[in-house]
Symmetry: C2
Subunit: 114 residues, 2 copies
Amino acid sequence: MTADAAPAVVCAALGEPTRWKILTRLGEGPMSASALAKVMPVSRQAIGKHLDVLREVGLVESEQRGREVVYVAVGARLNALARELDRIGRVWETRLLRIKELAENPDAGPPAGS
Amino acid sequence: MTADAAPAVVCAALGEPTRWKILTRLGEGPMSASALAKVMPVSRQAIGKHLDVLREVGLVESEQRGREVVYVAVGARLNALARELDRIGRVWETRLLRIKELAENPDAGPPAGS
DNA sequence: CATCACTGCAACCCTATGATTGCAGTTCGC
DNA sequence: GCGAACTGCAATCATAGGGTTGCAGTGATG
């Protein structure tokens, strides 16, 4: 299980600037860590760590191709996160709406309870 | 302009654990910074800073109510982010698919060019 | 076979930032 | 008016983690 990380964790992975750039590059096509290092202003090792983080949350997958390891961006993972965030956002809006209604119309609202 | 931050920036705001908890709380209903502090294991000042960050990217809005400032989670902002991420994810998948096709079918593919 | 490119691991540095405390200014309730 | 509660600003602390260098191992290439 490495693809069901909580939304916040995935967002944390996405939030780091360098990581976002790496991911953007990978979005254009699969690439090895070394190849990325040649194109970006950071060392291969640093990129390697970022790729570890990204793989941890399922945003990239790695594949051994000969002597090098090729990474590919997992769009589906991003789509899954999008769905989660969208759902949460809608819940917030719904609750807020209910609260507002209740404030203007404080009668037949909340029944029993604690 | 405080609501059109790049996806990565919004994700960075969402990625901080404490910030996510604060936001979750606010998702249940509007609250002041002090009220949040009484319910969470961090100081009011710390919460205040987090709220600043969240407001910066449009995830919360503040409203002066009497002597206190009430914050409310902006679900619409989360929905907007979700749409952006979803779009990006689909682009990745599309590109990847095209590359795969091209690998298996290396004829009528890439036209001229260097 | 000798060399070169790519990977993985480990130790280390240094900055960003999450969290704290302390104080001063405002608005509410009595 | 006086005290209590809420806010804002500033200084400070401490840790997480992003970045680096260095080295050893392994598969490709000539």
